[in-house]
Assembly symmetry: C3
Homo-oligomer: 314 residues x 3
Amino acid sequence: MKFPAPVSVQWIADLIQAETAGDLTAGVTGINEIHVVETGDLVFVDHPKYYDKCLNSDASFIIINTKEVTIPAGKTIFVVADPFESYLKIVKHFRPFASTAKPVSDDVIVGEGSVIMPNVFIGRHVTIGKDCVIHPNVSLLDYTTIGNNVVIQAGTVIGSDAFYYNTKKNRDVWYKKMLSCGNVIIEDYVEIGAGCTIDRGVTSVTRIGQGTKLDNMVHIGHDTLVGKNCLFAAQVAIAGGVVVEDGVTLWGQVGVSKTLTIGANAVVLAQSGIPSSLAGDKVYWGTPTEDASIKRRELVWIKRIPELWKKVMQ
Amino acid sequence: MKFPAPVSVQWIADLIQAETAGDLTAGVTGINEIHVVETGDLVFVDHPKYYDKCLNSDASFIIINTKEVTIPAGKTIFVVADPFESYLKIVKHFRPFASTAKPVSDDVIVGEGSVIMPNVFIGRHVTIGKDCVIHPNVSLLDYTTIGNNVVIQAGTVIGSDAFYYNTKKNRDVWYKKMLSCGNVIIEDYVEIGAGCTIDRGVTSVTRIGQGTKLDNMVHIGHDTLVGKNCLFAAQVAIAGGVVVEDGVTLWGQVGVSKTLTIGANAVVLAQSGIPSSLAGDKVYWGTPTEDASIKRRELVWIKRIPELWKKVMQ
Amino acid sequence: MKFPAPVSVQWIADLIQAETAGDLTAGVTGINEIHVVETGDLVFVDHPKYYDKCLNSDASFIIINTKEVTIPAGKTIFVVADPFESYLKIVKHFRPFASTAKPVSDDVIVGEGSVIMPNVFIGRHVTIGKDCVIHPNVSLLDYTTIGNNVVIQAGTVIGSDAFYYNTKKNRDVWYKKMLSCGNVIIEDYVEIGAGCTIDRGVTSVTRIGQGTKLDNMVHIGHDTLVGKNCLFAAQVAIAGGVVVEDGVTLWGQVGVSKTLTIGANAVVLAQSGIPSSLAGDKVYWGTPTEDASIKRRELVWIKRIPELWKKVMQ
C-alpha cells in the first residue's frame, strides 16, 4: 500500500511510539510485506532470523524490535517492542475498516456501457471500466479495480481479506490476523465465473491479467499475479503470492501451493496438486505434479507389480 | 435455443449478411450447438475438419465459411466470412443481455406455496413451481425453470453462463466467449445445497432430474443432463455436456470431465477424477477412476515394492 | 433440539397419533439423532437392526414401529407405523419453516461494535456478539449464534440445512429429507473466509471453536465439531458428524469423511482424503491419508519399479 502522500519519519515514530535511528529526513511512501517491498516503503520484522533480510531489502524504513543492528546507509529503523502491532496500527490508520449501509458506494466510478445488476455490493474506492457486466449478488470490496469488457458472474467475491495470520502461539487465540491493506486489479477482457473468490493483496496487489477466463468456484489467494490469457477450470484453488505466467491452463480442481511460479503456456491436468514452481510450455499431471507423460507411465508400471511379484516370489 | 417463431432463410441472410444456397423455403426454428442440434435448427461451422459432420448432422441450416461443399437435399447453407461472429449476432438478437434494476423480475411465475426469501435475484422468463423454498442470496438467472417441491439453499447460482470459449488465437485476447442462449431446468423434488453453481446450456438445456439431491458447493457445467434420484456430495464438479444417468452417487470432491456418460446407479468414491465414460451399477475410485476393488488392491501392491526390492536387489 | 419447555408424553402421543408404553409420567425435553441423544430426549428408530441401540441409548423416549420390545426401566416408547414421519411432524411443529420478507430479522441481537454490511440476510433467533464484522452478501440462517470478535467474509452461508436424507427407496423420489432442527455456534475470534458454507446440525449443533480460522470456500457439514485454533485452507470439505480437535491444520482441498475424529494438532497436507479417524500430533498425506513420511517414501518406491523390472525380466 502506498500512502496518499509521503509522511515524515517523525510522524510515523509518533504514531507507533518508536525510537528512531539512521536517516531521519526521507519521506515514507508506503508499507509493504517483505516479498513486495519497494524503495520508500516501510516493512516490519520481529525475528532475528530475518533482521538482515529486511534491512537489506528494497525497503527504506524498517520497524524492528532491537537497536543492535547495523543500519544500511540512507535507511531508517523504528524500534518498538512489537513490530507486528505497529504494522496493524499503521494499516488501521490509513485503511480503517469502513462500515456502510450503502450497497453501492457513492464514490464508485462506472464506465460507459457497464451494467451493475441487482443485489451487488460495491465498496469504496472501486473503479469499473467500460462495457462490463457485474452479475447479481456479486461483492466488489474496497479498492477493487475492474478494467473494460469484464464479466463477473453471480455470487462472486472480489477483494476479500487475505488468509494470512501471525502464528506466534503465546496467547489464547493463536492466530492473529495480518490486516489486509492491498487491493485487486482485474484487467480488460477478463471473465470470472460464478461463486469465485479473489482475495486482495495483504499489502500489495492481486492481479488477473488481460483476457484470462475463470470458470466457477475458482479461488485466487492474496498477492497472486495471474498473467494474460490464462484459463482456469472449475474449483481451481491458488494460494497466496503465486505467479502464473501468460497462457497457462489449469484444469478442474487443480490446487496450487503458495509463492511459486507457473511458467508461460504450461498446462496442468485436472485435480493435480502443484507444490513447487513449474517450467512453462509443458503438460503436467498428478499430486505432486510431474511431467504428464511420466506420470501416465508410472500408472502402467504400478499395474505390472503383480507380474513382478509372481516372477520373483513364485 | 428455439426462436419464438420460425424465421425465413431470407431474414437470417439479411441479419448476418450471408449468401445462401440450397433449400430457401423452409423456416428456421432455432440455433444449436453441433452436439444437440435438431431438425429445423441452425448450426455454425468454421473449420474444414468439421464441414461434413455439420452438413450431415440433424441441423437443417448451416452457417459456413465456404461455398465449396455439397449441400444435402432439403438443407440450406449461409455463407459468411466468420461463422462464429454470425452465431453471436443471432444470439444477441434473440437473447439480448438485459440489464435490470429489479431484484425480482415482474414476469416471474411462482406456484402456490412457494417461498422466495430476501436478497434473492430472479431474472426474466423464470418459472418456479409449487411448494418450493428459494433461500436468501440465491440468483436464478434468465430462462431458469424450477419444478415443484424444490429447495435451493442460500447463495446458490442457477443459470450462469457456460465456460465455453472460441480458442482461435489470432488476436490479443485469445479466448472469445461463445454467448450462452440455453437454459436450466430443475425438476420436481430436487434439492440443491448452499453455494452451488449450475451453468445454463450454451444453446440447449442443463437439467437436474427429479428427486436428485446436491450437497453444498457442487458445480454443474453447461448442457449437462443429470438423471433422477442422484446424490452428489459437497464440492463435486461436473464439466459441460455430461450425461449422468439415474441413481448415480458421487461422493465428495469428485471431478467429472466433459461430454462423457456415467451409467445408472454407478457409485464414485470421494475425490475420484473421471476422465471418460463409466458403466452403471459399479463402484469406482481413483484418478483416473477404476473399479474400486482393483484400485484398493493396487494400493496393497504398492506397499509390497520394498519386499520385492529386498528380494531382488539383496 | 431442546423444546422451549418439557412436554408431556400424552401431548407427543396426540401429535403423532402414537400408542404409548413404559413410563408415562416424565417430561420430554427435546428430540435428537441417535448420535447425540441426551437424557430426556426423544429419538426415532424404524429398523429392527437398531432397536436395541436406540432403546439403550441415553434417549428417554423412543418412537418405534413395533410393540414387541423390552422397554428399559423409566423409558417410554411411542409406537407408530412410520417413525420417520413422526420425527418430521414434531420438527415441523417446533421449528416450522418461516418465510419472511425482512432481510434482517427484528429479533436479532447484535453486540456493541459489531458491523453488519449491506445485502446480509439474518434469520430469526440469531445472536451476534461484540466487535464482529459480517461482510456483504452473507446469509446467517435461523438459530445461528456468533461469538465476539468474529469476522465472516462476503458470500458465506451459515446455517444451511444438513445434507441428510432417508434413503428408503420404496417410492418415486428415493431420498426424503431429514428436516434440520439443529443450529450453528461460531465461537469468539473465529474468522471465516469468503464463499464458505456451514450446515446446521440435523438435531444438534455444528460448532466452530474459539480462534479457528477458515480460508475461502470451506465446507463444514452438519453436527461437525471443530476445536479451538484450527486452520483450514481453501476448499477444504468436512462431512457431517466429524470431530476436529484443537489446533488441527488442514491444507487446501483436503476432504474429510463423516463421523470420524481428527486428533489435536494433526496436520494434513493439501488434497489429502481422510477416510477414518487420525491420531493427533502427526503429519498426514494422501488419499487415503497415511503418515506423510511413509507416503513420500512410497512415491520413491514407485519410481524404482522400472529398475526392478529390468533386473527381474531381463
